[in-house]
């Protein structure tokens, strides 16, 4: 039952993050790029003031998978790096924290560009 509730929490919290994004799209006409930026910055701020981690503990992937989780990761990375390296950590922490996701996106992006053919979106089923 525990494991079931864990998925329910991830589903609901993750779903809510997306629903809020949809409300922003529908009501404010914010473009996708702006919404993504807003989410990352919001996640960084929430992570910085320590409000995001409790949500991660509660909802797991429901809080880490949305881009706010990416922002939170940046804040955590900065904190860890500054604790370890002092002033230099301000410069290294952010990229270190997000390295896995960004590198994955770059590498898989390259691979997909190499091996896939563009698709034809006008063929609507």
């Amino acid at each position: 039952m525990d494991i079931f509730m864990e998925y329910v929490r991830a589903f609901v919290v993750g779903g809510l993050f997306c629903a809020v994004g949809q409300v922003l799209i529908d009501l404010t006409k914010l473009t996708p790029a702006r919404i993504l930026v807003a989410y990352v910055v919001a996640g960084t701020v929430l992570g910085a003031i320590g409000w995001y981690q409790p949500l991660v503990d509660f909802a797991g992937a429901g809080a880490t998978v949305p881009l706010t989780g990416f922002g939170n990761l940046l804040a955590q990375g900065i904190r860890k790096a500054v604790d370890k390296d002092g002033f230099l950590g301000i410069f290294t922490g952010g990229f270190t924290a997000c390295a896995a996701g960004v590198t994955a996106a770059i590498i898989f992006g390259l691979i997909v560009a190499l091996i896939f053919k563009r698709t034809d979106r006008t063929r609507q089923e």
Binding site: K29, T31, P32, R118, D120, R121, T122, Q124
Partner: protein, 338 residues
């Protein structure tokens, strides 16, 4: 010679006819409600080419070739060719027509280019400047999407006011002839800016221009809306059409039964996910060449206004916060020459 009436309206001498015409479209347009009336329907968006830009050029080439053969002409019969499209520097036309070796005049009127090129070709023909003149335009969903919006495989959300760029091309070959459809009068559009800034809402950016040009045409020629069997606008889509109806309603003129919009005709608005309707140079071009002109030729329609509409913007200038100016050129087509 053509006679200048007033305020942008020109009356042709009589006898300027669209000698032959052809429409070439993509698969989605072929699956739409007008599918049966197009001369060529591509199996996919690629048309056997490696890039979307080349595919668009090829579509334009097809439209021209088919129009030529339908009119029993060879390419040397064409004195001038007026062409334009949505791609940067009008490359769709330049590359599509580069092998032809015909004097070429590139035009840009955004989605109004079909009316613009047809107006120019008709004026040349009317002035007996060359025997036949061709007017060609095209647009391609994928080449437009990657230039103006996002990569094809990007899952960006489209707003409900956004329109779907048609993969289509149309070609009219104009000359002096006895058979309808005849080009009777032309009203050149003015640049009308209603202050709309949303690049995903072209319909409302262009509706003001359509209203301005159509009312100007009616006023300058002394005609009323009811003198026409139909008034076709280019690609106002659902949003722009509603606005146009309201603008006319403010003048106590009801055009709802006479007005048709090419952007709403090209697709099945229920089944095909095109949001507010079709757009792009090829949208009004293919509806004109596939649907409107054949009906005038057969006598089903007698007097028609064709008002293609365009939004004269670029992504750069919209990002800089400028509003979007619209334009609409009106062509009066008829099955009688005078």
């Amino acid at each position: 010679m053509a006679k200048y009436v007033t305020d942008g309206t020109v009356e042709l001498n009589g006898g300027v006819s669209v000698h032959s015409f052809a429409a070439a479209v993509g698969k989605m347009e072929g699956d739409g409600p007008l599918g049966d009336c197009f001369d060529y329907i591509a199996k996919g968006a690629e048309l056997g080419e490696k890039t979307w830009e080349k595919a668009e050029s090829k579509l334009q080439q097809y439209a021209f070739d088919i129009a030529l053969s339908k009119g029993h002409l060879i390419k040397d019969d064409i004195s001038f060719i007026f062409a334009g499209d949505l791609l940067n520097q009008c490359t769709g036309s330049a590359y599509g027509l580069r092998e032809l070796n015909i004097p070429f005049i590139g035009l840009y009127g955004a989605c109004s280019t079909m009316a613009e090129s047809l107006a120019m070709a008709s004026l040349f023909a009317d002035g007996k400047i060359g025997e036949f003149c061709a007017a060609v335009t095209s647009s391609h969903f994928c080449s437009a999407e990657r230039q103006f919006r996002f990569p094809i495989n990007y899952g960006g959300v489209r707003t409900p006011t956004a329109q779907w760029t048609a993969t289509a091309s149309g070609c009219c070959i104009v000359g002096c002839a006895e058979q309808p459809p005849f080009v009777r009068k032309i009203t050149i559009g003015k640049i009308v800016d209603m202050g709309v800034k949303d690049a995903n809402n072209m319909g409302s950016a262009m509706a003001g221009a359509a209203y301005d040009s159509i009312t100007r045409h009616l006023r300058n020629t002394g005609k009323a809306v009811t003198d026409f069997d139909a008034i076709y606008t280019g690609d106002l889509g659902q949003v722009g059409s509603d606005i146009l109806h309201e603008l006319f309603a403010r003048d106590k003129v009801n055009i709802e039964n006479i007005h048709k919009d090419c952007g709403l005709m090209l697709y099945d608005m229920e089944k095909q996910d095109v949001h507010a309707g079709g757009s792009g140079c090829g949208c009004s071009a293919s509806v004109l060449c596939g649907h409107i002109l054949p009906r005038i030729k057969s006598g089903e329609l007698h007097n028609v206004l064709f008002a293609a509409t365009g939004a004269l913007m670029s992504t750069t200038i919209v990002q800089q916060g400028e509003s979007i100016p619209g334009i609409s050129h009106v062509i009066e087509l008829s099955d009688k020459c005078i």
